[in-house]
Amino acid sequence: MAEAMHGTCWTEDRAHAVLRSVALANDEAEFLAVHQPIRDFQVSTTTGRGIEASDEALLADLSDPETRYAFCIVEGEPGAGKSHLIRWLDVKWNADDLVMLIERADGSLTGTLRQLRDQLGAQYGYLFENLAQSVEASFDGRVKLFHANLAASLSKSFFETPMGDEDWCATWELERLIGHQAVQERWGGPERILKVMSGDGGQRNSASASFNLYDIADLAQVQLAVEGLPPKALMLMRTLKKETDRIAPARAADVPAAELELDETLEIPQARRLLKALNDRRNFAVQHILGITVDGLRDMFFKLRKELLKEKRRLVLLLEDVTSWEGIDGQLIDSLVVDARTRSDVCDMISVVGMTPLYLKGIQGNYSGRITHVLRLGRVRQSGGFQETIQLATEESQAEFASRYLRAVRIDRPELEAWHKAGANPETVPNKCQTCVGRDACFAAFGASDGIGLFPFNRNAITNMFEKLEDPKGTQSLHTPRGMIQGVLAPVLLYPSRLDAGEFPPAEIEFSEWMPERSLQPSGFLAQVIDAAEPDLGRREQLRRLMMLWGDRTSEVHVGVTAEGMRSVSGVAEGVFEAFRLPWLGEGLDSAGTPSAAVAVQPGTPSSDVPAPEAPAGPTPAAPPPPSPTPISPLSATTSGRSSPSGGRSSPTSPAVSTTRLKALAEQALLWRDGKPISDPSAWEILLIDLMNEARELLPEPRFGLWERVFTKDNVKLEGSGRTDIRHFVIPREDWATRGIEAYLTNRLGTALQPLQLESNRRAIARLLRRLAELASAQLERRLAQDDPWSIDGATAQVLLARAWLRGAIAPDSPLEEQFQELLSEEQEAKSLPDDRVESWGELVKATSYWHDKLRGMLRQSLNLPLGSGAPLMNAGVVAGAMKALRDTMRTVPVPAKPEFSKGLEEIGKLVELARQTDGQLRHIPERENKSLSQRKERALALLRQSSFSHHLAKVDDAMTRTVSAFVQAAPVQYQEYSTARARSANAGLLNEADPAWERLADYLLSDDVGFQGEAEKLAHTLGVPIASLRLALETLEKAELAVDAAYKYARAFVEGNQSAGDLSVVQSFGERLAAAAERLQTKLDEVA
């Protein structure tokens, strides 16, 4: 490059003058200077003359003096260039014809009519005078009138020429429905229509002023508030409600109503019928409030054409946007299609009308025979949606289009005017680049199109910015000339001072709502590259805009060479960095290696072309393996042979989150980095749990069970993604996390990467996992109250072990490993009769009754030491000490004093409570129970009166039998109870002296008290007592006592009560029997007692 790059080469004033996006707004010189010949549009004619698809050919055909009638439609999406073409026709049209150009202006019908009046000028102005007598009403007043007119027009026999749907309207009593007071007050449809017709504050943008399905849906919503409607009208409202409920989801998703109307699969017949009825009557209602008669406009055009016929002139009507005529568009089009060849009283007429594809579709049926030319500036996309503007369909055409504006903003106004005066030859538009001394450097860095420098853009910037434009409301395509001007050129060219100040690319690029935030988010690696190169935050933002828009986007961050031989980073030439005074980002990117080259591995015998290890430092003769330029895709896990060290992890290789959602998450991750909220929380939940499981691998202890309780889908959150409290594990929005998550997502997606970025991503993932593991560990400590570490497993094992002892499942003096097996096993029936023990024994067993299963499950999970698919081992070492301590001391491990275990950790909270209860009660139980048993034993021995159990009961039986035979009513209840208890004892084998049950009980009753070495032994001893036999024997003995005692008292009372009553002989006889019986009974009772 011989010359240095130039500085700013345009002014803000010139940019403002040139970039007026409304084609009809700037002056002719500016207009012609930026005009790009319009070519390659689709054109069809019914004139029998085919024409070339170019603006020049169209002009030639339409303005041909032989053309007597033409009705030419220019179809295109809003902003597609319809106005530009129509204005160009106006500029180029001959002076013989009366050419009337009606602009969109403010988009209102009244504004349009005003233009018509102005265009008629003094000569024909009188024709307009009787056309419109606008009603002098406020906007609200006009809405009311419109509404009332609409309602009235729905009545039967309203129109002289019936619309054809009068019967349907009458059936459903539409006049009364639409005219109902509540509908007038609550339904906003008519007001919306009038607003659009009024230009919508200049924002109309070809919007149609027709009722749409959403208006019908709004009308149906009014149903509940409407009282006094005829039944038929109410029925219709209900039907409308049902039908329009079906389109509610589409409405919520911002689907344009027009799209729904075209969707023939949508079954909403009544809504469609009503929609048509309203739109068919709209023009009448509007004309009425404008004071335009049904034939007013048509009459005016007839009169005008008659006048022009006299002058032998043609009328050329160039209408930028037909939607601005809505309300009287029917009359207008009717006027345009009057062909002078079919009648002799009007002049020839050429009309060119701009309309959107949707509008054209609506009128084509009625006027297809009258349309002579249809020009389509767009074409249907395969993907659907808005049409693609042909003029800007290729990157080359986009650059060419932009270059004309760039050329124009660089021209001084006098120079431009001189060119215009000289005939505005499109071939000689002044181009400053031709004489610029910095041209070579500029073109090399920024590129050029047909000799016009693209500075301060480059081709990438023009295309990227253009393609990224997006209407957030989804109501229009921005891939149009208007989008290019307003969304691409203006945000850059209107701020030349920013270039002077070293603030390029300007921040204004991002102010536009048309530039989606996500499209300006650099990958984590690019952000890293930028951050490493530039410490200043503002300049980092400039670099971000530069790389995201001026860069090539198609590949990852890499250093290359442009076609002009200039170094570049991801398509941004070094000269661009220099011109914008930004640091070159290619430092360190051009080689993935270290400054000194490494050598290939040459194991085995030394190779002659490899330096010896002790060779002095310096140029290395052996060429290092160059870093592969081929992007590397991370291997799939199936080839990596990856194994899980601690098992139990979810596999990220079979993602529960689909690739499409992962891609969306990757975009969101970039936004999250910049403080924006995330969406798709359910996908994030799954992803974050996967990530946490990866991080868990780095913890020395996997904490199975506890981990799952602390790190649930609900608990793991990204910072700023919702309300959080102490339960939540919040991943902070810090560099290690934002960069790591982005790298992790890239890895999950298997995106091919350049080696340097692959290395960077891998380390970012490693750092992320390390930091997450650290934070997770701290979170576990916090949530599990580990400030003063306590053993959850130890406490759990102790609570379960105490329970196992007290239920008699195992004795405390059994080998500890057997106790370990028992406490982890499913419980069986309790053997220790806890209810027959001291109160605290039963209490402690009851306290754990609900929780033991949960605690056991938790402990099994926690102790698990899995390894691949092999048999898991148990981490018994973590509880063996606690078990031994419990056995030795009957005390549990320390637990937190004031634990607060929130949701999800209820078991841990309960564990602390139970451990504390166990600690408080267990150590006293052996002594208390032992004492209780001793007392019971003493009582049993006392009641047995030195007999064996069976012998003693035989004596009781004999006494009771005799007594009962003498006194049937003697102690019947007590005797029965005794008999029952006795039977149970017999069934238990206690009355059979050879039965082991009796033998064990007898052994216990006859044994001497022993000393114990500890509480465990004491507890084991109490568990060894045949408690069931003892209880049964004691119960039987007590019942026997009660029965004998009751019988004795009965007999005694009987004797005392019968001593002086009745016949003496009888008395004497009974007294003898009684005396004998009492004597025998007394003897027996004495024996028993």
Partner: protein, 301 residues
């Protein structure tokens, strides 16, 4: 019997065994150990085989670490106090592995890691980790000091794919790397380096900041598989990698940069070229180091 010849165990299992023995007065018979580690639970379906190979291998690996001995048949006894925490256990194992003579069967454990660090340097990155398990292991095997006799038998090679499974578990446990999603073990000694720096400072009186040369030297003693360490140099020789000179290896560069970014230590970059060591080129503000300040301001929790 060595750490890598017994494959069916994990560091966590070794520590569990040690704590079990400690709780049982330091000695247990095989049957007791089996009952403890593989209890038969009523009402719970048992997984895995009835054989106890995994317990035998666990005992073998633990014995290889010199932490238990077998005074008589099927009896196992602790030979040293058991560290109070699992992190302490990792430190103890690391210390033992660092101290091993080259002829010890377990010396391969850290030699293989050193080979990985050197290979990553030679290959200018870690994409070689994406080789299949067998080729990756073969590459490492060729970069470690050779056995006395060249072994063609895959099973007898000092390092092979079979041995890489327990090896990776040890490496992660010792804080020397992470299991990289969709790839394999990734050398990343940040955790260990941070821990060793803390231990270094607690054991010796050191200035707050160390010149880079002194820092590298100290680290090479405690982590001989990194730059300048004896295991690293042995592998460098084997691979015939030119001396690093005043450069920091790729693995250590990345680790130091991350610890610097995490404020665990501070890399001081200001100094003449003669006084500094160059870090591996990558987009990062720190490109050279003159000194390392051994304390940061980070809050881990």
């Amino acid at each position: 019997m060595s750490l890598l010849s017994d494959t069916n165990y994990s560091p966590q299992r070794v520590y569990a065994l040690l704590r079990l023995l400690e709780a049982q007065d330091g000695q247990l018979g095989f049957d007791s150990i089996r009952t403890w580690l593989k209890p038969t639970l009523r009402g719970v379906e048992q997984k895995g085989s009835e054989e106890h190979t995994n317990i035998r291998q666990l005992l073998g690996a633990t014995a290889s670490l010199g932490l238990i001995e077998s005074p008589s048949q099927n009896q196992y006894k602790l030979t040293a106090p058991v560290p109070a925490t699992i992190e302490g256990f990792a430190d103890a194992v690391h210390d033992r592995l660092v101290a091993l003579d080259a002829d010890h069967a377990d010396s391969i454990v850290l030699e293989a890691y050193a080979a990985m660090v050197v290979l990553t340097e030679a290959e200018q990155g870690t994409s070689w980790l994406d080789l299949n398990a067998k080729d990756r292991a073969a590459k490492i095997n060729k970069a470690v000091p050779a056995a006395d006799a060249d072994e063609e038998d895959e099973e007898k090679k000092r390092f092979n794919a079979t041995k890489s499974s327990p090896w990776k578990r040890w490496m992660i446990f010792l804080g020397l790397g992470v299991s990289m999603p969709r790839s394999d073990f990734y050398p990343y000694p940040a955790q260990r380096l941070e821990r060793e720096v803390v231990r270094l400072r607690s054991e010796q009186s050191l200035p707050r900041a160390l010149e880079i040369e002194a820092f590298i030297g100290r680290i090479a003693e405690r982590m001989p598989y990194l730059d300048g360490g004896r295991l690293f140099l042995a592998s460098v020789e084997r691979v015939r990698l030119p001396p690093l000179g005043r450069r920091v290896s790729r693995v250590l560069s990345g680790t130091l940069r991350d610890l610097h970014d995490d404020k665990r230590l501070v890399l001081d970059a200001i100094g003449d070229a003669k006084e500094t060591y160059a870090l591996t080129q990558e987009p990062h503000p720190v490109r050279n180091i003159k000194a390392v300040t051994l304390e940061g301001q980070a809050n881990n929790g």
